[in-house]
Amino acid sequence: MPSPTQRVVLITGVSRYLGGHLAERLAADSSVERIIGIDTIAPRTSERPRLGRTEFVRADIRNPLIAKVISQARVDTVVHTAALASPRAPRVTLQDQYVTGTMQLLAACQTSESIRRVVVASTTAVYGASAADPALFTEEMPPTGQAVGYARSSIEVENYARGFARRRPDIPLSVLRLANLIGPTVDTALTRYLSMPIVPTSLGYDARLQLLHEWDAIEALHRASAIDHRGVVNVAGEGVVSLAQAVRRAGRLRLPVPSPAVALVGAAVRNSGVAEVSAEKTSFLNYGRVVDTTRLRTQFGYTPRYTTEEALRDYVEARSVLPRLVLGAVEGAQHRLQDRLERLASAAARMGAI
């Protein structure tokens, strides 16, 4: 590992959630001398104060310019979060950006003499989701062949990362497979989906969801940038909630429709997140996905602060007052009924005593 005094960290995708927050986290880390953030778009004005001492370079990682940035700044750590953006832009563009961008970035790292550490943020979506899957995925299980869209490009990104690790065995490379992000501030297809007042779900199915709190995602990436870990690691909160349960806890109403129709309902509601959740992962809404996090806790050395249930609670509490109204009504009704029952019972007891 580089000596702590001269760490220069390059973050791709810095204008997006993970990259931006990681930059903020690294800025608070005194062992990091310079932080260079790269993205094709400039960070939003409101986001700029967050980045602190981060130096922003507006560049496309598909451009050879990236190699120059690395060599000039003598970057020693690269954290590649750009391949894990929220898939909101046109799909073909993103695919090209993710996969080709990763290829170019890793090629630049491969020829560099200063790089000593590479971290690639990936997603648990690479495991797919189907009825034929085991209850928990471990890192050894191969990514499924049926993956489409976002998952497939993530698999390709990981393939390049594996190729890099093979060609430069002297540079430890970690791939972090992050579970579905949730939390008070992060904006993902899932958080938008759960914030609809009426949530369309697949009739007759109830996916098992495993969530990762935004805070834990940043902490895990931060830790990854500083340690000497090699290989793939699943990053997810402990425990499981079902989709129906998540919808109820969010105080929403569930509208079960036959699974092929979920995407149609989602398409009718613009910006709902269903379109993205379902188009990419129809099966995700049916089956969900749970990963084993033993390696994260033992080998990688990070235990998430939030369990799946706690992450969900944090999201629900921060997002809206509506849930507490709905839940409060149900609880109130129950207590009222119970009071009445108790009064009835005690009245009956008195009658019995006489």
Binding site: S130, A131, A132, D133, P134, A135, L136, T138, M141, S202, L203, G204, Y205, D206, R208, G239, V240, V241, S242, A244, Q245, A246, V247, R248, R249, S259, N286, Y287, V290, E309, L327, V330, E331, Q334, L337, Q338, L341, E342, L344, A345, S346, A348, A349, G352
Partner: protein, 337 residues
């Protein structure tokens, strides 16, 4: 398989009946009498909650009713607000305890009048793999009844975790129910994970071949299509408990299999029974056969390694189940009583 003297099946049924009699007469709560046989455990547990109220409002049906209603309300509230916990496999103890098991227990006690023996062969702690014969045509009710037997009649009241075919999880409705009830996919990864966690894992190695076999082949073990189970038990170092279930074959006697219809509907088989599909929904009701479930002596997997040992163990399990099936069949007086 130790050649035990004829198992006193019919004697076993006596305490069983006494127990259920105690339970039925107990509706207006009275303190549990000293029926100190094995089965009293459940009875006593049921009385516990009611006893507290007895001191406040002696001999009042309203007290029990009130307690039950408020318990039901609390349950409804938990379901409506999503305030319950699932484990990694999607098992939902809250739903299983309060809805699924009571429903199946009613079937167990009143419809199939299940008689169980060999419960002492199920360990109080630690993992074990229970391999059973599979039958029943329409429903895998044998799995449900086995769960009830272990949950309700075993002194430690353990949950049975079931391994089910992929078909179950890709079928709408069934997929939710199966996971909630504690089932997961029959694959080595899940089987070993559960066994290593010290769970009781139930599997039906005949799979659909057993479930949908024609009535003329009743109680003939089919090929074990899933030989991986034995390897999983060896890998986890847990014993295998052979389980024989008699009675399930007669619930839906499969007279024929509409193959083309099955292919059309993407089903593993399409059973034709005396009642299904001719009577419509009524045909889904199982015939009230009398059931016997026998848990055999555990077969240790400690010295086994793999290869030949797997085959030998599989054969041993097969033979044990088949032998006790025949024995139970000889002993049973009638299909219905």
């Amino acid at each position: 398989m130790d050649e035990r003297v004829v198992i006193p099946l019919h004697d076993e049924s006596e305490p069983q009946r006494r127990r259920s009699a105690v339970r039925r007469s107990a509706r207006p709560p009275r303190p549990a009498d000293g029926s100190a046989d094995v089965y009293a455990f459940n009875g006593a547990a049921e009385f516990d909650g009611i006893d507290d109220i007895d001191h406040v409002a002696p001999a009042l049906p309203a007290a029990g009713w009130e307690r039950r209603a408020s318990k039901g309300l609390a349950f409804l509230r938990r379901r409506l607000t999503g305030n319950y916990s699932l484990d990694d496999y999607g098992f939902d103890p809250d739903l299983a305890e309060n809805v699924l098991l009571p429903v199946f227990r009613a079937l167990y006690d009143n419809w199939f009048r299940v008689e169980v023996n060999g419960l002492e062969n199920i360990p109080n702690t630690g993992g074990a793999l229970l391999l059973a014969n599979h039958s029943g045509g329409l429903w895998a009710l044998d799995a449900a009844m086995m769960s009830v037997a272990i949950r309700e009649r075993h002194p430690v009241q353990r949950h049975l975790r079931m391994l089910a075919d992929q078909f179950v999880f890709s079928t709408p409705g069934l997929s939710v129910l199966a996971r909630r009830a504690g089932a997961t996919l029959a694959c080595p990864a899940d089987a070993e994970r559960l066994l290593n966690a010290g769970e009781l894992v139930g599997a039906w190695p005949e799979g659909f071949a057993g479930l949908g076999k024609p009535f003329r082949d009743r109680y003939q073990l089919q090929r074990f299509s899933r030989g991986g189970f034995v390897s999983s038990a060896i890998a986890a170092g847990v014993p295998i408990i052979p389980v024989s279930i008699v009675g399930a074959e007669e619930t839906h006697p499969v007279l024929g299999n509409a193959r083309s219809l099955a292919r059309l509907l993407d089903l593993p088989y399409f059973p034709l029974t005396p009642t299904f599909p001719w009577l419509g929904p009524l045909g889904l009701v199982p015939l009230p056969s009398k059931w016997y479930i026998e848990f055999g002596a555990p077969i240790s997997t400690e010295d086994a390694e793999g290869g030949r040992d797997v085959f030998e163990l599989t054969d041993q399990v097969r033979e044990t189940i088949q032998t006790s099936l025949y024995r139970l069949l000889v002993q049973r007086r009638s299909v219905w009583r």
